[in-house]
């Protein structure tokens, strides 16, 4: 029996050591791979050069291009979003990137406000989550997936500043008046409100403005969601722009601008929405046009290398 106790004690020590080794830099997150990658990408940007941070999930990831905003307005921005990113991960990223970047404005694409926001796979599994909290190795056991093989692209910089365009076209052919129809009212889950509160408090403390901009997406938006977001935004004194109500004004053509039947925008769609956002930022915020400033010459180099704007 003594041997078994020694074995178990050794096992606990190893769990503690392994946990310390794999804990992500961004704090408690759901997806260690994506958050660590995003963090290292942002860290590769020159310190204190980003004026606008974008946060969201795949709708934003495929929707807003910081390089295009730069080319049109000279405003610097970065896209912290990633496919299926949870609110807890965005919250951790917003806070941990502040070490090196001090943005003036945070723009949130709010679809993720209705998705699971917990850093744990199943929020209800309280004991499992408790064990994962004590021994994070169980939570972050897939840490090795971040390892790149030799010969792979080691560059941590993102040329498109976190954005990923797609040239796929798969038209949305259903109801173009999806925002006119009645829909069930949506509710923001309590855990999501908690993370939103944390983000809002953090931004207020650091004097960062917040803006909600919903991407056009018939698959993800309806009036029920719009109303819930409007209510939350009003209660917190945050401006909310829903581009789903302005698709004509922006010029969205659902035949050509979506890559997957109205779920995400493709490159053509992103061009239009990004153009609209660039104008909106320019008109409504006092953000500096850094074009011509030598400190920001890398942005021009990236723009030239991208060759699409």
């Amino acid at each position: 029996m003594k041997k078994i106790i020694i074995f178990l004690a050794g096992f606990v020590v190893l769990l503690v050591l392994a946990s310390a080794a794999v804990k992500p830099a961004a704090g408690e997150v759901y997806d260690i791979i994506n958050t660590d990658r995003k963090l290292s990408e942002v860290a590769a940007e020159s310190d204190d050069t980003i004026d606008v941070m974008f946060a969201g999930n795949s709708l934003l990831f495929h929707g807003v291009s910081p390089l295009q905003i730069w080319s049109e307005t000279g405003i610097t921005s970065y896209d912290l979003s990633e496919g299926a990113m949870r609110l807890c991960d965005q919250s951790a990223l917003i806070m941990s990137t502040y070490d090196k970047q001090t943005p003036e404005l945070l723009v949130i694409e709010p679809t993720l406000i209705f998705d699971n926001a917990s850093p744990y796979k199943d929020d209800y599994a309280i004991p499992t989550n408790f064990i994962e909290k004590i021994f994070p190795i169980f939570h972050y056991h897939t840490f090795y997936k971040a390892i790149k093989l030799s010969g792979e692209d080691e560059s941590k910089r993102s040329l498109f500043k976190g954005f990923e365009g797609s040239y796929d076209v798969d038209p949305y052919k259903k109801d173009p008046d999806y925002m006119q129809k009645e829909a069930d009212p949506a509710t923001i889950p309590e855990i999501n409100r908690k993370y939103l509160r944390e983000i809002v408090d953090f931004c207020r403390e650091k004097n960062i403005g917040i803006l909600l901009i919903a991407m056009p997406s018939p698959k993800n938006y309806n009036m029920g969601i719009h109303n819930a977001l409007q209510e939350w935004a009003d209660a917190n004194g945050i401006p909310f722009v829903d581009t789903n109500l302005m698709t004509d004004e922006i010029g969205i053509n659902w035949e050509t601008d979506t890559k997957d039947r109205g779920d995400h925008l493709n490159f053509e769609g992103s061009r239009k929405v990004t153009g609209f956002i660039a104008d909106y930022l320019k008109e409504n915020y006092d953000l500096t046009d850094h074009r011509g400033d030598e400190r920001y010459s890398q942005w021009d180099a990236d723009l030239a290398e991208a060759g699409v704007y």
Partner: protein, 530 residues
């Protein structure tokens, strides 16, 4: 968090109980062992019974009473059979007749419960199909009954028990709690192994938990977790994607079948390792269910190595009784008169085999693909039996023996294709889908689509890496076991620090490479549904 929220979530969480979640091996099992340890020896079986019921209730809620009712029924019938056996005032012939009536009534009742819970919708739908074709209006409203966990397994166990008492191979159990525990013992509840009552009796002695039994049990559980989490659950999304993908060609079909065979073997044998390991902690040796099946020399040998306890059940309680029955002898005699001895000698085994494989197919569940699966092996094994003698003669002519490398390679390739084709149909949603997959191996065999599919089937290169590591380890262990290498003894002989290091490495391999938590969907145990 308020109290009601916490309680509601804890209940939901506990509902996820299964052999491969930590709450089982790190919470439920140690707690059972702890209480068992501190209770008087003669009361330990009650501890196991209570924990088995908690386990049962967690998975099937109040269907526990169906299990208890079946157990009481089996207990009473066992006593009844015993009473007839020992009543010497009745003539032997009359005794046999009476107990036969009791046994048949018992088997029919137990099967009826199984049919009601699992097969009623299947029967109803097929009646609708037939009557619809005949133009008779008949409607069937799907009942979608949830079956008590493990009903397919404990029904067979109870049939075996009653038959053994009937044949006087086993004594009837006088203690009701003992039968209740036999029918609900948590390690073997979900997926077996199908255990005979005589193999189970040892548990009632309440033998002390020894550090060795604890260590051996947990080592076996770890091995099961390795197979299930590192291989089966890593490959599961690929199997689903390949079977449900939009495009199917011969390459995809073969790949899907090979992947599913790997998944099924690792899933099922892994769960059995956990079952055997769990029982081992309480000093009970459950029967083994797998013995290096891919080293089998033919299909019937494969079934003596794969799901051994099911095969043994069908052998003892279907094959032998039918083979030795008067009816089979009569048919065989008639065949001999008409077609001669060479055909007649295969008649009795063929009749018995037919019922064995029909039962095997049906036991897996209410699907025609399972019936086809059973018939597939019936035909193959029958052909093998018939061709065995000419094949041996052919080997002699070619100056080869069973041990010759070309013969072994031929046998392996033949078995490999027999097994994966069988699994291709077994996993297919419908017989038509299975047949389409099979057909395109011959009509549309390309590999570019398959390779393209492999890159896009929700399994990344790290997943493939984990599967490759897992398979190398498992295959190595299987080769060593087949060669009779005393792996366990050699490990035990290592110095303590080396041994500790080895087990730590094994545990961390499962922790790191296992498919659980973030980014993975928990995959149900495949054989739990049967």
């Amino acid at each position: 968090m308020d109290k009601a929220y916490i309680i509601e979530n804890l209940i939901k969480w506990w509902g996820d109980l299964s052999y491969t979640v930590w709450m089982y091996f790190a919470l439920f099992l140690p707690l059972t062992a702890l209480v068992y340890h501190f209770v008087r020896r003669d009361r330990r079986k009650y501890v196991l019974l209570i924990f088995s019921w908690i386990f049962f209730f967690s998975l099937s809620r109040f269907l526990l009473f169906a299990n208890i009712a079946s157990s009481v029924f089996v207990w009473a019938l066992g006593l009844k059979l015993e009473a007839i056996n020992s009543d010497k005032s009745i003539k032997r012939k009359e005794r046999k007749k009476r107990k036969k009536r009791v046994l048949i009534a018992g088997i029919i009742s137990l099967l009826a419960v199984l049919i009601i819970f699992k097969y009623l919708d299947f029967i109803g739908l097929n009646i609708v199909r037939v009557t619809w074709r005949m133009g008779i209006p008949f409607d069937w409203k799907m009942l979608k009954l949830a079956a008590p966990v493990g009903i397919s397994y404990y029904t067979l166990e109870s049939i075996a028990y009653l038959s053994d008492v009937y044949w006087e191979k086993a004594e009837a159990e006088k203690s009701l709690p003992n039968v209740l525990l036999f029918m609900s013992f948590f390690p073997k509840l979900i997926e077996g192994p199908i255990t005979r009552y005589n193999e189970f009796r040892g548990i009632f002695e309440g033998v002390d938990i020894h550090p060795d039994s604890l260590a051996t049990g947990y080592q076996r559980i770890l091995w099961g977790l390795f197979k299930k989490l590192v291989i089966a659950d890593q490959i599961a999304p690929a199997v689903n994607a390949l079977y449900e993908g939009e495009y199917m060609d011969g390459g995809v079909a073969l790949c899907a079948a090979v992947f599913f065979t790997i998944q099924e073997y690792m899933d099922f044998s892994g769960a059995i390792d956990i079952a055997v390991g769990s029982a081992r902690i309480f000093n009970l040796r459950l029967p083994e269910n797998f013995r290096q099946p891919f080293f089998a020399k033919n299909a019937s040998d494969f079934w003596r190595r794969w799901h051994i306890t099911l095969g043994a059940f069908f052998r003892d309680y279907i094959f032998y009784p039918i083979s030795l029955s008067k009816g089979a002898a009569r048919i065989s005699g008639n065949v001999r008169k008409v077609l001669g001895n060479s055909v007649a000698r295969f008649t009795t085994p063929a009749i018995a085999l037919f019922f064995v494989w029909l039962s095997n197919g049906l036991w897996h569940g209410p699907r025609w693909t399972y019936v086809f699966y059973g018939m597939y092996y019936f035909v193959l094994i029958l052909i093998e039996n018939i061709l065995e003698e000419p094949f041996v003669k052919l080997l002699e002519k070619l100056h080869l023996t069973e041990a010759s490398v070309p013969v072994r390679v031929f046998r392996f390739i033949k078995l490999f294709f027999i097994v994966i084709i069988g699994e291709m149909f077994f996993r297919a949603e419908t017989f038509t889908k299975g047949f389409e997959m099979f057909k395109c191996i011959f009509t549309d065999l390309r590999f570019d689509v398959m390779l393209n599919n492999l890159e896009n089937i929700s399994i990344d290169r790290y997943g493939y890496f984990a599967i490759a590591v897992g398979l190398i380890v498992v295959i190595t262990v299987e080769i060593l076991k087949e060669a009779g290498f005393p792996l366990r003894e050699r490990l035990e002989a290592l110095p303590v620090p080396v041994r500790f290091g080895f087990w730590y490495a094994c545990i961390f391999t499962v922790i790191i490479l296992g498919a659980y938590g973030t980014g993975y969907d928990a995959a149900d145990l495949i054989y739990a549904q049967f």
